[in-house]
Point group: C2
Chain length 342, copies 2
């Protein structure tokens, strides 16, 4: 195995100093062109590769950023990462992924770990459990950019890139009203998370603006999976006053709802409309395609990355930046009662 070649090896080969080699490699104007050429040639010959660890230790910049999220194998999050990489890789940054599994303690742990690894910034979507903000302050205290994406929490000094969940929910609900739905139920997941709370608020406002009375019994908090959607729908349909539409804050729940409705022979969208949230790919795959609010995860990732890059370049002047992306409602069969919407 060939030991790695360092600038010292190059220096020795040319009978000069490592300092000169370093300067030559960095194209320092104080080094003569001749020397530069020789260094470059020798570097190539010896197959020299810079040791990023050494550079990082010296400069204090690791050129790594941490990306923290609940679970990586969720469509939304893996797409966000994709977006982040698109922006950061070309700038020479590597991305270290850490999962929290929706656990506050684990979140604090991975953040500590990232700080120890000297990351240059942290992009995070907070876990559902998180209440304490101490670990976030740790980051800011070290003057490391902290950017929340999608799920944020209020921390002074941190930036955020989020979706206008309120708006998305409002549009989805309004769309259902426009389709003639009168009794619109809502599935939510975790009201302690801002995103879900905002969706409820958007939903409520749309009802209000549409002249529909808000019905407490039509709002159900469930897990974000198909089964939960089925069960919840079953219960809703057994109410004395069942809904004629569901706006679900989660796509899997919307799917579960549809599956149950079909099983009891409710016609969709003629008798019942459903709209989901997230625009997960599967919503387009079904025969009965599902309307959903798109969160543009790629754009969110790219935007979060850009905000990071801005902050890193502004040095000491720490300007919090709050970017809010606009969602777009994808209207599909599950809620297309009227031809006019085609």
């Amino acid at each position: 195995m060939s030991k790695k070649t360092t600038i010292y090896d190059i220096a020795k080969a040319l009978n000069i100093t490592a300092a000169t080699v370093s300067r030559a490699l960095n194209n320092n104007p104080r080094i003569s062109d001749d020397t530069k050429r020789m260094v470059l040639e020798t570097a190539a010959e010896l197959n020299y590769k810079p040791n990023r660890l050494a550079m990082a230790l010296k400069s204090g910049k690791s050129k790594n950023v941490g990306v923290v999220l609940p679970y990586i194998n969720r469509t939304f999050f893996s797409n966000v990462i994709h977006g982040i990489e698109e922006e950061l890789n070309p700038m020479g940054y590597n991305v270290i992924i850490c999962q929290t599994h929706e656990d506050e303690k684990k979140e604090a742990d991975v953040i500590q770990n990232l700080l120890n690894a000297q990351v240059d910034g942290i992009l995070i979507s907070v876990s559902r459990e998180t209440k304490n903000t101490e670990h976030f302050n740790q980051i800011l205290k070290k003057n490391i950019p902290l950017i929340f994406y999608d799920r944020k929490i209020n921390v002074k000094g941190a930036s955020s890139v989020t979706l206008d969940d309120y708006q998305g929910a409002y549009e989805a609900t309004k769309h259902l009203i426009d389709q003639g739905c009168k009794k619109i139920a809502h599935f939510t997941v975790d009201r302690s998370l801002e995103i879900y709370e905002n969706r409820i608020q958007g939903y409520k406002q749309a009802l209000k603006d549409g002249g529909i009375k808000f019905n407490m019994n039509h709002v159900v908090t469930i897990e974000s999976d198909i089964e939960a959607g089925k069960e919840a729908t079953k219960k809703l349909m057994e109410l004395a006053n069942p809904p004629d539409a569901i706006f679900s804050a989660s796509d899997p729940c919307a799917l579960g709802a549809i599956q149950h409705l079909k099983s009891i022979n409710v016609r969709i969208p003629e008798d019942f409309c459903v709209v989901g949230f997230s625009n997960d790919p599967f919503t387009q795959f079904m025969e009965l395609t599902i309307s959903s609010v798109d969160q543009s995860p790629l754009l969110m990732g790219r935007t979060a990355a850009k905000v990071f890059l801005e902050q890193i370049n502004e040095d000491d002047i720490k300007i919090e930046k709050q970017v809010v992306l606009t969602p777009s409602l994808k209207i599909r069969k599950s809620s297309m009662k009227l031809d006019s919407d085609l």
Copy 2:
């Protein structure tokens, strides 16, 4: 902003040497218990956190591993990552994700980058384009473990964790034959990749064993998406001798096939059976659930990680290890012609 505290700060506070502090923190037996206690206390007070970069530089072990894959936002790959993290995080490793976008040059670039970052190992699923193995040899020359997962390429000294694609394809095809299908077509994606070639071979062997003549016209190479699946199916059905089943090496293509077949009123599974490959979540979401071969991506990730851990512990003795995982066919509605399969 509080400057980071180092072992020197602790040393100064206690009027001892950084060397002693280092030993105390590492629980070196040559340090007295008293000193250890004091160091630990002071470390806590000063909120000392080890600098992983410095440790890495000194030890030559960065505790980072690179994971290279075509695209992160593919169900299969994001699940593999999940599996890798499950094994590696508890051991103190961080994972650096790099995408190749199926591009050989990019693949070589990210590998170079990972090597410069001094990763302790590289787990990779090669890009479709890759022919040259030079960049892989670079890794091995530095005595860094190289583990292929899913898509491998022959490189002496590298380990691999793959799926028995041959077996998976064989079972899928045999299952179709057992269902009474006589003319089974096959969708493949890229025959230059071992995994797809193996699937074809398994398909062929199953046909042979089932006494069915292989029909060249029933094997179609297409992209792995719904549209391609639709089109290819359309063409197949227009043949003088159309198939009565499709074993697709890709789930999206299988879905495309089903969509087209429905559109021309072919009954599934009564008149036509379809089996996909990958067991993508959406295959279970449809009303007409799709049979598919499961690749157990989580297990694959975990296994690849374990192989890495073994190699890293065996030091110089470099033993190549080839693990082959067994796929499992998930039989669902799209191919369940006979009740006996229930």
